[in-house]
Subunit: 361 residues, 2 copies
């Protein structure tokens, strides 16, 4: 990992650059696929599924039989874990419901605000190297609680034209109406324009690699809303000398293994912690099933020492991480001064060190 | 105005196309200006201010003297009206504050959500053909209530290098920290990258023409957040035979006069209302100070008859208007079935016909 000690302010911008492929290359590809899917529909989707996923498919829609078969292939233990996670996520999102806000600003002028379900939402679930069923739980659960009428899901097929049964089980459990075996740019294009098979959606949610991210940004030009440009995945951990280096290393690796273009950064006010985390990352990497993937993204990643928490916070705000974990003696400081995120979701674990995590919105 | 009776479903997409210039032309211009402002800072901003606004400026920052002078140039009557509007807007946004949401999902796992101010926000206020001081009120007031630390504003200078005093008065009243005489693409680029004069912002808010809209979308690729792609301005009014044609015509014209690329659409389940509104628009256009501007955007606009409210609602959801006014005997129907908007802001006027308005978010 790259270690940097007290980098100068003028070097921060360069230092914090995301490891994304040249934007222009990606954009050309995304534009081309969008216009082809727009004009040719399913046949273009089929062409790019063959090209990128290596499988010729006549039909993209997952059948009832496939979903039923998936239920038989997931272990009871995993099913129970998924149901428990769903119930926890439901508790959290149920608590978000807010009443209508009504104000009479002037006699005769009644104003109000209300939150309402978007009728048609498309979820994108990456599936290239890992079945992200947790993402289905986190996207489809609030969509159901909000009352969205039509929830469809796109996820790339494997080389045999199949979807991981855990994905299908979780989608069915969470009330997803339709699942399509479509990945990457062609999935976002299909949800944007609609095809013979895929319905046109009002808003697209979900993470993805840099191609998916650029595709989602392009979708907004065609009046489709998106949640946020959410990929490639990134994590910043701030840790002082009170943190547990093994936990910090695990957190960094858990994000690093998402994909080779993920980025993880450790900011620390302790030189010892930087050294300790570096050693722990090396140790834990050895026993990681997704070692190769994590190693490639660890190569993009940085351990940065800053001499005080004010400077540490400045560089964190300069970067504006997608995910942010705080493991310090003064967690409140890092939470209060986190200025780029307007809607923060935190949790605190009482097992082991106190940790907090925030998502950028 | 173009009148259409019961257009077929397969014609809707074409019919509802926005009157935007070819996207590719705009994008090239926006990309070029962004990379020049990024590498050359103020000197690039100066070049494009000369080119687009026709004025060579050595300094973009509005001085304290200019702001003080502006206070003397705004009539007491207008000042009182602006203060009243500010106080109404404050009442509305104060009511939006929500408490922290805390949930313990599992023993030992405390989760919470909180809304927090974004530290650095940039407001874009169009000024080409009309000083939109109302937009300052609507953007800076909630930013202040939220607690944003740094609020800066960009607005284009006139041919003499000046800003309308009402803009300066309103900005000062609303606690805007700095005002820059910069408009269009170069303003969004300056807020995105920062220059010697303009600070780099975390989020950019505000409407604009199609160039500003494309520029804001480009800003998101450089990790700057935006409120929404908000321009060119558009309005859809739905009216049945209980509506007042003069009010409907005024609403349509009020949006049409925003700019020549604005679009207004009337959806009606009454053929008589279509005819009556068309006559009223012609009558009212004659006495409109901004007649020429409104006329050009009225040429882009459509009066569409649909035979029942279900069909009317379907076409409204297909379009997803930025602003939506409802003047019918069954307003609740049109509000309840408005599916593309997740956060709706409505108001109801008790003078005259009941009207409701929603903003797409």
């Amino acid at each position: 990992m790259n270690k940097l000690y007290n980098p100068k302010r003028e070097e921060w911008e360069k230092l914090l650059q995301r490891p994304t492929q040249a934007l222009e290359d990606i954009e050309q590809t995304v534009n081309d696929i969008f216009s082809e899917v727009r004009s040719k529909g399913d046949s273009a989707v089929s062409k790019y599924t063959d090209l990128f996923d290596g499988i010729k498919l006549d039909s993209f829609k997952v059948t009832t039989e496939e979903i039923e078969a998936a239920f038989g292939k997931v272990s009871s233990e995993l099913k129970n874990a998924i149901q428990l996670a769903k119930s926890n996520i439901e508790k959290f999102h149920e608590a978000q419901k807010t009443p209508k806000v009504e104000v009479t600003t002037t006699k005769g002028v009644e104003c109000w605000q209300e939150k309402r379900p978007i009728q048609k939402v498309g979820l994108y679930i990456p599936g290239g190297s890992a079945p992200l069923f947790s993402t289905i739980l986190m996207l489809a659960t609030p969509a159901n609680i909000a009352g969205c009428k039509e929830i469809v899901l796109c996820t790339p097929p494997d080389k045999n034209g199949e979807i991981n049964p855990v994905i299908l089980y979780t989608a069915a459990l969470c009330g997803v109406d339709k699942v399509f075996k479509i990945g990457g740019i062609q999935a976002i294009a299909a949800l944007t324009f609609g095809t013979e098979t895929v319905p046109k959606m009002y808003k697209i949610f979900g993470p993805g690699n840099q191609f998916v991210t650029v595709a989602k940004q392009l979708a907004t030009k065609f009046h489709v809303a998106i949640d946020m440009p959410a990929g490639p995945s990134e994590l910043l951990v701030v840790a002082d000398d009170t943190a547990d280096a093994a936990f910090v290393a695990s957190d960094l690796l858990s994000q690093a293994e998402h994909g080779p273009d993920s980025q993880v950064i450790l900011i620390s006010t302790s030189e010892q912690m930087i050294e300790a985390v570096e050693r722990e990352v090396e140790l834990q990497l050895e026993v990681l099933p997704r070692k190769e993937m994590a190693q490639r993204s660890i190569a993009n990643s940085k351990l940065i020492y800053l001499e005080n928490k004010e400077l540490a916070m400045e560089i964190i705000n300069e970067y504006g991480p997608e995910h942010f974990i705080v493991c310090t003696a003064d967690n409140d400081f890092y939470i209060e001064k986190n200025y780029k995120c307007w809607l923060c979701i935190y949790w605190k674990l009482h097992t082991g060190k106190c940790r907090r995590l925030c998502f950028r919105y």
